[in-house]
Subunit: 637 residues, 2 copies
């Protein structure tokens, strides 16, 4: 079987038990965030919105300039919250939370139309507007999130009610969408349904849902343009809409022709995720070719070092190549969550660190900052520089990010491990136990012992009922210069095993076999391509997968006066209990002396510099202590 | 007489004839801009708006979130346009333009109410709203601009009609405003009337107009707060307004208590200008003390190196100390024009280069960029960095900047020279001839021969009917290290003559006496206070009063890859005919090699650098050739 014909699928969430770093984060979500999400959805009126025994709430959030209300997406918020609860229930039973989720599912059951349609807004607020504006109104997007919730809840609890509801809805969609007489050859302005249908197909084993997903993918951006015809049918001027370009929803050309990442960042990530799933399931090389071009475009021209993407607030998305402003970065939490989704699905056709390295980068530095350490507050935007006014909020009129980062954290196990026939790939490291069954019937247990990402030593213990042959592929991140590997104490030459950045150990394994991997974690400078004007003359510091930053609480104000010398001095690591045992780094850099500068605003002589002790902390943990300035890209000498 | 008891007043505009640098700019305005202003005011509907024989245009520009329409300020646009025409007529008779101005003045005469009131909006669109909302509606602001026009037009043409109209209006104001029974103890939300009344007083010799100006200055920000009481009287919630703070219009505290420059930048500059006039006219030390504090606050914490002020678009004004973003700088042309006004008036109590240096800096680099070389297009915002999308426009819904820079250019002679009893101060250099009469009756002619600002050699020839004793004070800019001075060929030790940065030559002068001043113009680096985070690690280059910049048309793209070495290399000056003979500077700097960087967005090694020939041009001339990127603050090695 050729390299690209493999089909790696993530292991299910229940197959992995986390402790260590991710275990702590999962506890925060399970014990705190999950309930908060429901509380805040309820406070916003979302339960009333789906309860047919209560009066319709009407328009609670006014119609915005783009022609809709964020209230139209309430189903998606409830969907992602239920999904988070489902994942949380794996970690820790919580009868109260489960009962609340069951109650919501009961309401959805009563709300669902006889024909299968299900949407709080278009059944209760604007019932005459069903399927009239796919471009702007997020109907299929909402459906997709409820489908993802249904799959997760079924896997977590064995309860089929929501899954059945969503299968009925999907079956109804199969009658509505298509190229047949009286059908709509359309697709949603905000992608999501594509990847959701793949999950539904995988859990139900129904290929018809895969086919519908592929239909949405194939139709997108084709001519005659669906959004134009839809608008004309609806009596709207097709050119008069808020974002004025179909690039906003990646519907400007057929997806296989797309090579440039454009438009709304979350939409783009969800589309590419769906495309990658379809490429894997159908072994569709034409999609893979487009995806690889888009991947290059994003990661070599449009991505923050944090894995944040979409620099502009105006379109919540992409602008020009190499335009990566730090202080005004939008870099929505959801967009980095979406990048993790996409990267993970790019691994469907085989392990490749090109994707997995970015998945890890976006996970730790782009997505995770969205959640406070206590699981109670959330970032929507993720700037790389702050003058001290940017803080996590408790809720937002468009609360998409909180449940998105929460469901990612609670399902992180399925991003760590993937399985294909007789191969296991480990994409991400972290203390955990994973169980899976291979095609040959062997049940494998992998125990990962590590303090990663704080320490680079990773021990794996293999549990097997009986000896078995399979390949174990371990990602060796590109940054891990000098990585070492040993099997049962015998060193293995990493470079000789390396395929696409993974050490591939294809052998007969015995119960109790041990693999030791060491990924050296050293502080390393990162410089940006000179075309990134905002980072010119600046340097960021990383250690392993983590971007580090400086904060006022450790370093005082005027962080831009810090200068990193050409040779990074030896630093010392410090464990910070108040940040859940995070590893900070103390080192001596230089600092311009603002105090002795004098009164002049400008002068002919640069500021004097002197040595200054500086503390760096992981970027994802900023704004968890006393508020103040924050800076990632520091002056480089 | 003590130093601070002197009263320097600018010479009148007709007393100075310009050639050289400013002569060219005045030609552009007289021959092109002046007519364009009227054309565009007419096209916008402003003539119809004041013509009682035509139907009222109604609300042409919709009411904005701040509760008014920019159409409310149309009188100010017409006022500044007439003022520009008046100043242009000194330079060059233009019967056609004069006839158009006369026609507008006739319309205003017919429009004026019997009681003296005059305002296009509140007589023709909302007649029931007169004097109901001084905070937001700019009635006195509009009046002020018409007064300035009246003074200029009278001085230019000898025609009194507009002057008489505005005196009638001012006389009516004297009945409306005051602390007497039935009078309003108010003042305008947008300052302007204050400085206009001083001009009216000076040209008419009527102290009552000075007193009214002082009344407005004294009332501002006092308690009980006029804006609050006014709102309550008008049935409005006094706290519910767009900017939510009286700081926006510098009405948050009595002006004598103010030490921090806040709010809308143009409003602040116009207020301080009026305060400085009143301080001079009344020898009011309490105002001077506030003004000196405000001056320090602005120039040491809140001013771009261009003399641009007001970094934020949201309030068209000031934000935090040391917050000076370059690419998003608002730095409205009008605000720098206003800073020139204020600085000039700070010289009323005696020459001091502390004010005059900033006046020159803001004039050349903050205000002048507002006008294209051909006088046809205009900048509103003046960023110090552009990715190539910022260009001068032909018109704006709030066209305040075009006539503001035009009237400054055409009246620049009065900013160059000031006279007090037996003293003449030269604040600005430029080829010109000035005539004035001293208190002792001597008529003095000063001929200035120079190619300044391109060359630093300045020759002065004194013309006198008979010998006379007076002091001639010549500004020695702080940047002019090594300046030399000679009288009739005999060197004078500059430092021994220096008072507050002016070389004071107090002697008996003869007809034909010659003074030679040389201000060395060398390229000098400028670094910002380390607290200006946006300029950290960056350097700007100035030559004499001019800020220089790099543009794509000379230097290709990716201007942020240019690195200025620690020691500025010797450059060569180049005269550019396409920029009216401007002096560019060619020199060898360094440049990061974006071409050989490779595909990675980030990497551990900084970019390679190599020597690169770079051309710098004066910042005020950017965007006059092929459009592209522009950058002032370059990477410093």
């Amino acid at each position: 079987m050729s390299h690209k014909d493999r089909q790696f699928r993530p292991v299910t969430v229940p197959s992995v038990t986390l402790s260590g770093f991710w275990g702590q984060w999962q506890d925060a979500v399970s014990e705190t965030t999950a309930a908060i999400l429901l509380d805040r959805c309820e406070a916003a009126g979302m339960i009333q919105a789906i309860d047919v025994d209560q009066p319709s709430p009407g328009v609670v959030i006014p119609i915005a300039p783009w022609g809709g209300s964020t209230q139209m997406f309430w189903d998606s918020d409830l969907g992602k919250s239920i999904e988070t609860i489902a994942f949380s229930l794996y970690r820790k039973p919580n009868p109260e939370l489960e009962a609340r989720a069951d109650a919501i599912i009961d309401l959805y059951e009563k709300l669902q139309d006889k024909d299968g349609y299900l949407n709080a807004w278009f059944q209760r607020v604007q019932p005459d507007r069903r399927w009239t504006n796919l471009r702007d109104h997020h109907e299929l997007y909402c459906a997709g999130h409820l489908m993802e919730a249904a799959v997760a809840y079924y896997q977590a609890t064995g309860k089929r009610k929501l899954l059945d509801i969503m299968c009925r809805y999907a079956d109804y969609m199969l009658t509505v969408f298509g190229e047949g007489e009286g059908q709509m050859p359309g697709y949603d302005g905000h992608e999501e349904i594509e990847l959701a249908l793949v999950k539904l197909a995988r859990v139900t084993g129904e290929p018809k849902y895969l086919d519908l997903s592929k239909f949405f993918v194939d139709q997108r951006g084709t001519e005659p343009h669906f959004f134009t015809e839809e608008a004309q049918r609806d009596g709207r001027d097709a050119s008069d809409f808020h974002q004025r370009t179909y690039e906003y929803g990646q519907a400007h050309q057929p997806v296989r022709d797309q090579r440039k990442v454009v438009g709304h960042a979350v939409r783009a990530m969800y589309l590419y995720s769906g495309m990658a799933d379809i490429a894997t399931e159908y072994r569709d090389d034409s999609l893979t070719e487009a995806l690889e071009g888009l991947w290059d475009d994003l990661t070599t021209k449009q991505m923050y070092i944090t894995g944040g993407i979409g620099p502009a607030a105006s379109n919540e998305g992409f602008t020009d190549y190499f335009d990566l402003p730090n202080d005004t970065a939008y870099a929505e939490t959801c967009a980095s969550v979406g990048l993790v989704f996409w990267a993970n699905r790019m691994l469907g056709r085989g392990p490749n660190r090109r994707y997995a390295d970015v998945m890890e980068q976006a996970l730790y530095n782009g997505a995770l900052p969205g959640l406070a350490l206590d699981g109670k507050t959330f970032f929507y935007e993720n700037p790389l520089e702050s003058t001290g006014k940017h803080h996590r909020w408790t809720w937002h009129h468009c609360p998409c990010c909180p449940p998105n980062i929460a469901r990612l954290v609670t399902s992180i196990g399925s991003y760590m491990y993937a399985v294909a026939d007789d191969e296991i790939a480990i994409h991400l490291y972290g203390e955990s136990t994973m169980t899976c069954e291979l095609a040959n019937g062997s049940e494998v247990t992998l125990k990962q012992k590590t303090e990663y990402p704080w320490d680079g030593a990773i021990g794996l213990e293999i549990g097997l009922g009986s000896p078995a042959r399979f390949a174990l592929s371990l990602r060796i991140p590109e940054w891990a210069e000098g990585a070492t590997l040993a099997v049962n104490g015998t060193p293995v030459d990493v470079s000789s095993t390396l395929i696409d950045g993974y050490a591939r150990l294809d052998r007969d394994w015995q119960d109790g076999d041990r693999v030791e991997l060491v990924l050296p974690l050293v502080l390393r400078p990162q410089f940006a391509n000179p075309r990134v004007r905002q980072d010119a003359g600046r340097v960021a510091l990383m250690r392993g997968p983590l971007v580090y930053c400086v904060e006022t609480t450790d370093n005082g104000d005027d962080l831009n006066a810090i200068v990193v010398p050409k040779t990074i001095p030896e630093g010392s690591t410090v464990m910070l209990p108040e940040l859940n045992g995070a590893v900070a780094i103390d080192l001596t850099l230089q600092r311009e002396d603002a105090g002795r500068w004098g009164d002049a605003l400008y002068r002919s002589r640069p500021a004097d510099r002197s040595d200054a002790r500086v503390r760096l902390i992981p970027y994802h943990l900023w704004d968890n202590r006393t508020p103040g300035e924050m800076l990632v890209w520091m002056q480089a000498d």
